[in-house]
Assembly symmetry: C2
């Protein structure tokens, strides 16, 4: 099985990045990932103000999927997530929505063992491993890996976990997938600016889907399809996700717009993915009992 | 058992409203509620532009809780929700975040039967009955029932359902509880501007808790405590809920602020309640494995 090394990274998603590996549709492969600080924080003495933030969220890849063409949809199946032995939660003044209440930089190292993140001797959190960064090359430009968008990237969406699928529009030949930024666990919102940041590796397979027209990412879990949108401002970003969800429902159920809109309201949840990246990310969960298949 | 009639309603939460009934702490009682249109929409011919919106969200009450004093916390336990036989989903141009795509007013009547809302012959939604409006008299002013706030009211929070408890600060002697606006089901966000709006009745008991200092509503479910905040703008409202959640966790676990902030980020979800009322409402879910009791 191919193992894509964490030595091969990009700092920006761009059509200009040459692929470092090629996989066939359906082929299983491992992607090793750095933690979001690119391994610069190894102990409680390594503080966030001392690190080089220009290499944060370095994403392993890009990985070409043989035969992928612009206009296809890439379906990335997350088969397994393996975590390193410890995670990291640095804080510093100004980080996150309550950052003004942090008076000094401070790094916490959190051992991972027996299914738990051992936050302190008295407090342990159940692991909920997830992938923070997963994206494809955008049609143009150079988008820092820290920034989410319609090409995916730093969506920090807790549903991107083992057993889930991520659907992404393909903008360039090969799609050029890159992956980074695992979390041992994270609440919706990533409210202090970090999850439990951790290195690791992810077992994936990527399939090509034709006949789907997606404007941006959709995540599939056992129970729902989640329409993901990112933007600078909450209401407009929510509106994008709601409109895309209503249009998917309308198409799947052959429902006129007012009924699709009502069904979004009665049965779908607007959820927060993260509010701490350069663009915020939300998602609308369409339950599968309402829409069993993506159309 | 006392049954508080839906003939006895308020249109604004205010300390000036005299109570229409008094219950003892722990006493079980029923509150009958109108649908949010005060029963003005009875068929598909009754369109939203024709109704008197000044009597929307009429809340049954106020109900005094004997012995409640300013500074106490009221704990309202939702024991049972009974729904009427049909729900209502009107739309009209301009309603909700995609309201510009609605070209004509249109009312949908949705039969409720056998545990489902029968949206159409082909589409049925599982019932998830919830209470949209539940609040106490604020310390001053007259706040329309449609507007949520630290006194509760139109929080449109899906966790306010049978089996849950709502904790509210008491601002006036007797607390003066009022209840309205049931939904047969609703997704987080209330994204078209309505849930499946419905009349019904709610079986409640209200207890008094001393020694708690709450600035605003907290909802308790089987799995979590949810800190609710409402405001005009998303980021600032989220910040209020996050700060209150971090302070509760810090107090419960005797954790310094940076650790409480990390725990909010690693284990708590920022969730959307509604984005369609005069103020939007969010909540932060603190899992009970982290904080078993409200302190």
């Amino acid at each position: 099985m191919q193992i894509i090394s964490r030595d091969k990274v990009i700092y920006r998603f761009s059509p200009a990045n040459p692929p470092v590996a090629t996989v066939s549709p359906g082929e299983e492969f491992w992607v090793e990932t750095r933690d979001c600080y690119s391994g610069q924080i190894k102990s409680a003495k390594d503080l966030r103000p001392h690190i080089d933030t220009s290499i944060m969220n370095a994403a392993t890849g890009p990985i070409a999927i043989a035969g992928a063409r612009p206009g296809d949809v890439l379906c990335v199946e997350i088969r397994e997530i393996e975590l390193a032995g410890y995670g990291i939660m640095p804080t510093n003044p100004g980080l996150g929505p309550l950052g003004e209440r942090i008076t000094a930089a401070d790094t916490k190292i959190i051992p991972i063992e027996g299914g738990f993140a051992h936050f302190s001797p008295a407090i342990r959190l159940p692991l909920a491993p997830m992938v923070g960064v997963l994206g494809v090359a955008p049609p143009d430009g150079k988008i820092p890996c820290v920034t989410p968008g319609d090409h995916g990237a730093n969506m920090d969406t807790t549903d991107i976990k083992a057993g889930s699928r991520v659907y992404l529009p393909v903008f360039v030949p090969g799609a050029n997938l890159a992956v980074a930024d695992l979390h041992a666990c994270m609440g919706d919102g990533e409210l202090s600016g970090t999850g439990i940041e951790i290195a690791g590796r992810v077992r994936l397979a990527a399939m090509l889907v034709s006949g789907l027209a997606l404007a941006g990412p959709v995540v599939e879990t056992e129970a729902a399809f989640l329409v993901v949108a990112s933007g600078p401002e909450f209401r407009e970003t929510a509106r994008t996700a709601i409109a895309r969800a209503a249009d998917l429902i309308g198409k799947a159920l052959a429902a006129p717009f007012p009924d699709a809109y009502r069904l979004v309201s009665a049965a779908c949840d607007l959820k927060i993915s993260q509010i701490v990246n350069p663009l915020l990310t939300v998602r609308v969960a369409i339950p599968k009992y309402l829409m069993p298949r993506l159309v």
